[in-house]
Point group: D2
Chain length 146, copies 4
Amino acid sequence: MTGTVFDIGTARAVLAAQPFSVLIGAEITAFGDDAATLEIPIRPDLAQQFGFVHGGVLAYAADNAITYAAATALGPNVLTGGFTITYLRPATGLRLRAQARVTGSTRRQAVCSCEIYAVREDEQVLCAVAQGTARSVDREMSPADS
Amino acid sequence: MTGTVFDIGTARAVLAAQPFSVLIGAEITAFGDDAATLEIPIRPDLAQQFGFVHGGVLAYAADNAITYAAATALGPNVLTGGFTITYLRPATGLRLRAQARVTGSTRRQAVCSCEIYAVREDEQVLCAVAQGTARSVDREMSPADS
Amino acid sequence: MTGTVFDIGTARAVLAAQPFSVLIGAEITAFGDDAATLEIPIRPDLAQQFGFVHGGVLAYAADNAITYAAATALGPNVLTGGFTITYLRPATGLRLRAQARVTGSTRRQAVCSCEIYAVREDEQVLCAVAQGTARSVDREMSPADS
Amino acid sequence: MTGTVFDIGTARAVLAAQPFSVLIGAEITAFGDDAATLEIPIRPDLAQQFGFVHGGVLAYAADNAITYAAATALGPNVLTGGFTITYLRPATGLRLRAQARVTGSTRRQAVCSCEIYAVREDEQVLCAVAQGTARSVDREMSPADS
């Protein structure tokens, strides 16, 4: 993507190019100024055995929102190094909303925090909190490189 | 599940009752003795934009394998408190294999470590490492409780 | 401490009762409203081999600031479950400042984030970011319990 | 240290050059083969308010043991990117023992796990578990660089 402007349109195009994000049904609803928001309409097939959204969906949302937030600071070629997620409450409702922002960055690395909410009709409830890091890489990779 | 034996058959029944695990295609291939292994056949719709398995799939695998490993020590009613995942290499191949084991536990809490491998035809490559905690809870929950 | 008001004076008394905090020279400079700030004058004997403040001092500061922030939400009898720290830059200057705040909480658990700055004469530089959890416990513990 | 053999003698010399490690009283008791053990004689001035070893001391031990373990894989010029620590039990006894080993590594990065024990007269009790990452850097740094 080098040479193109990395705006919300480009961010959405990258998300649309991620088959797993399409499978989950993720959408980018905000992107820019050291922050990114990713939302997922809650569907029955995203649940665990008690009907709540599976923790793995919250973890996916944190991972991806953190990567997008980091990209607003470091550019599109970022690699997520890892993240930590703490679950506070089971998630149920209409949508999952992961709001990530850059807490601090150097030229090559960004640390981001992310809050994951379950959005109900008239409120949003904080369900998990995450922190992760991403590094800028020199170029894109493909499976042929591995 | 109180009163029933929590063996690999029960563990597989719980997994089959998680719609998101069914969507991902996860399987439990080992369960017991403070350890659990969860495997996922790699499919095109689990990928990110460069064709590797999406980090969110690895995070799901870590979350769930850690929960199952903890359940071998604490019993079936466990709640995952959170986890940390560090990515080492992009994942590509035939299957994803998440091997979790209990590192330490008290009567109510277990700390587990998890290694996530990409299994190719003749080798497995370590792609991520995770650590997480789970606590035993007094009873099962349903969305009606929240 | 049950029955007493848990204000900054009490918080400072608890810190003064921690021999390791006295050894490090930590001070509480803000406490209340879901947040706490802990500061440490930088001394030569807190350094690593290149003259920067040792990462272990930043980790101590994160651990303790997170615990104090959680106590503003949960009360004085809290137990830190663990934390994650990411280092951004080496720390050097006059003081270390760890600012923690509660990101989310339930009745029994609080998740806190913490930013650790190196304070120089005319600026503060973000050196590390942490996230941790604490739980309320029913009573204080002593080594005789273990 | 480029050009010298990085054995346990060199590792101990680096530790002796860390004023904070000297203040804490840390010792390296094993070093090599993707693993390192750091021990700390428990003293009254390392305690928190209930007489247990302060969590910050366990965090210091995890941080440093992880860095040394990573150095056995990556060489002496390593920078710890961060770590996660989970506390299981309060630490009391004669010595603290942090055993770290490399779980996985690439050419530039190592992920390490660490178990922190309280050593009593006839047993050792697991008190905390940690996971951290370190990267190799091209050269040593000094405060003059910052």
